[in-house]
């Protein structure tokens, strides 16, 4: 439809698209979630999961099972699938797949830097990193004594280097609050990813722009809400908003001056897609906002699978897997803590 991708896509990407669609059909269905919600103990959950694709990962775990173990093993499965796809990919798909994991990489880097600042053990920190965001020289992050060295020695070689240099000069690295640094990096990453997708063109560009715009807008709303009442100034807040997306630039102006959730709601209701989200919430409530955002995201991700011959399916698949792992974590915690009544509060059905 966009540029004759149907002619040439399958040459390089056909195999992997098929693989990823196969993975996609292995996601847990609503029936599975219903079964899991009925479980009484974690062993029941393990039994149900052994009938799904997670079976091989969980069957060797001794009981008593812990919720963190379940999450770990499911993440492990995701990592295995990702690596399998990455090794088979060629350019530009391989770059695209790598882009998907830069978010986790940023989280890991920030975690190790924080831990080093507070003098924690490097090995312990490495164990706490997200597996999708690991890169080879990550352990050397702990060697650097301050941020300047950090950048000079380590980060320059990683794919994250441009994010550091674009948004921060090396003086800022020393003083900035960790959270602000993390969010600045993430903003740079999103913009970079957006540009890359635009370069790819075609269906990929359209679908990915939509998904990334939603991500950027969601972050903007969250930043605004979470920085109400903190010492984050309006200018700082505005600096953290990405420069693309539905809210750019006027929505950002409004959000930057918001001091209250209701003001945020007023600002968002001008945009029809987000208006529907905010009508689900009653006045003054923000607990359900995150779940509403997740639901919207899942809807859009599922739509990505409707089209063929684009890279968006890979991104969508990774995100859907992550949501599934979140669901599993929620269900296991509710079962383990005997809060079965709250199970349906946060489970987002994918199928």
């Amino acid at each position: 439809m966009y540029g004759f991708e149907a002619l040439t896509f399958n040459v390089h990407g056909g195999y992997l698209e098929a693989i990823v669609r196969g993975y996609h059909s292995g996601l847990l269905t609503a029936a599975d979630y219903n079964n899991l919600c009925q479980c009484e103990t974690l062993d029941d959950i393990k039994m149900h999961l052994s009938a799904t694709e997670y079976g091989s990962y969980l069957q060797n775990e001794p009981s008593p099972l812990h919720t963190t173990t379940i999450v770990e093993k499911c993440t492990l499965k995701l990592v295995d699938e990702y690596k399998h796809m990455l090794t088979q990919a060629t350019e530009p798909l391989s770059t695209f797949l790598e882009y998907i994991t830069y978010g986790h990489m940023i989280d890991n880097v920030v975690l190790i830097v924080t831990g080093t600042l507070h003098e924690r053990d490097v090995q312990e920190l490495l164990e706490k990193c997200h597996p999708l965001g690991m890169f080879d020289s990550i352990a050397t992050l702990a060697v650097a004594q301050n941020m300047r060295e950090l950048y000079r020695l380590v980060l320059v070689d990683t794919p994250l280097a441009p994010y550091f240099s674009e948004c921060i000069t090396s003086e800022d690295l020393d003083d900035m609050n960790i959270e602000i640094m993390r969010n600045t990096l993430y903003k740079a990453y999103l913009e970079d990813f957006y540009r890359f997708c635009q370069k790819l063109g075609g269906a990929t560009a359209e679908i990915m722009s939509d998904l990334l715009a939603f991500e950027a807008d969601r972050r903007a709303v969250n930043i605004s809400i979470n920085s109400i009442g903190t010492e984050l100034t309006r200018d700082d807040r505005r600096k953290l908003y990405s420069n693309f997306g539905l809210l750019y630039p006027y929505g950002h102006e409004e959000l930057a001056v918001c001091e209250d959730i209701d003001q945020v709601r007023a600002a968002m209701e001008k945009y029809p897609p987000y208006q529907s989200i905010f009508t689900k919430l009653s006045y003054g409530e923000s607990q359900m906002l995150d779940k509403a955002f997740y639901e919207e995201e899942v809807k859009r991700l599922c739509l990505a699978f409707e089209q063929q011959f684009h890279y968006g399916v890979f991104f969508a698949y990774m995100r859907l897997r992550e949501q599934e792992i979140r669901n599993l974590m929620w269900i296991s915690e509710c079962v383990a803590q005997n809060q079965k009544s709250r199970v349906h509060d946060s489970v987002v059905f994918i199928f």
Binding site: T68, N222, I225, T230, L232, Q339
Partner: protein, 311 residues
């Protein structure tokens, strides 16, 4: 094994009695005071027990809520949120300190928490999950409050329990061992003193009896002697002794074989039988014999029993 309450081994004197009585008074007063202390402590104990029960129940609820808040935070902000939060901490912001409180004489430890410094985590989860993280933080602060309170209550509970046991032990010891012992000692001392008094009294009475009998006997002897003397005086004046003549005749009638026929033999025999009188005053009896026989001299003959002198 509650053996017989012995008594203390003491010397049973009056001073000892005074000392024992003082000790009994002390023991009684101590017993009353300790009982009051034990009652006060028991009241406190019951109060604390009730509070512990209610705190534990609310503890269960609060912990459940806070773990669930953590789950919500993990759901929204990602599983790594707990690592991120923990690595951002340099030192604890919430600390606990302990101090002592005095309840009815027992020092109970109490804990209270205070906030020392601030961990800068207002911006944690800025892009997603910030609200949940702050809610989780609030929930856990509340559970820490409850935990500190529960710790205080439980340590006071244990300390009070110990103190009550000790006090009750002392009360029982006083009641069942010390006081009976002292009372037994007192009654023993009193008994001993009474016995000594009775001994003394008895001894006194006995000696009085002896003395009285002595005096009586002497008085009798003196009276008899005095009478005889008077009679003899009279008979000497008259030349004959009525009493002795009467006696002699009767005696002669009685005992013949003892009599030697002598001019003044029967007189001598008679004298020998009244040797006591004769011994006391031979001159008197000799004079008497002379007077009786009309002779000038009397020869006292030796006999088996008595010695006669020849005058």
């Amino acid at each position: 094994m509650s053996g017989q309450t012995q008594r203390l081994t003491v010397v049973p004197t009056v001073t000892m009695l005074g000392v024992m009585k003082a000790r009994l008074v002390g023991a009684t007063r101590g017993h009353a005071l300790l009982k009051k202390k034990s009652d006060a402590l028991t009241v406190q104990f019951r109060l604390i027990l009730k509070k512990i029960v209610s705190t534990k129940e609310s503890m269960g609820d609060v912990m459940k809520t806070s773990s669930f808040a953590l789950t919500e935070a993990k759901y929204v902000a990602g599983e790594n949120i707990k690592h991120i939060v923990r690595e951002n901490v340099s030192s604890a912001a919430l600390k606990v300190r302990s101090y002592q409180e005095n309840i009815a004489g027992v020092k109970l430890p109490k804990f209270e928490y205070f906030i020392d410094g601030e961990t800068k985590n207002d911006l944690t989860g800025l892009a997603r999950g910030g609200q949940q993280v702050q809610a989780c933080r609030g929930a856990y602060v509340k559970s820490i409050e409850l935990l500190v309170e529960l710790a205080t209550l439980q340590t006071s509970f244990l300390t009070l329990d110990d103190a009550i046991k000790t006090t009750n032990r002392r009360v029982n010891a006083l009641e069942n061992v010390v006081k009976p012992r002292i009372e037994n000692t007192i009654s023993y001392i009193k008994g001993e003193l009474d016995e000594l008094e009775r001994e003394d009294f008895f001894r006194l009475k006995k000696i009085q009896g002896y003395k009285r009998r002595e005096v009586e006997r002497q008085r009798e002897a003196a009276k008899a002697y005095a009478e005889e003397k008077v009679a003899e005086e009279m008979s000497l004046q008259k030349g004959i002794s009525l009493s002795s003549a009467h006696d002699m005749l009767s005696l002669a009638a009685q005992k013949d074989q003892d009599w030697k026929v002598d001019s003044d033999g029967f007189v001598l025999r008679w004298i020998s039988r009244n040797a006591a009188a004769a011994a006391t005053s031979p001159y008197y009896s000799a004079a008497w014999c002379n007077a009786f026989t009309g002779k000038g001299t009397v020869e006292l003959l030796k006999d088996q029993d008595h010695e006669f002198e020849k005058i």
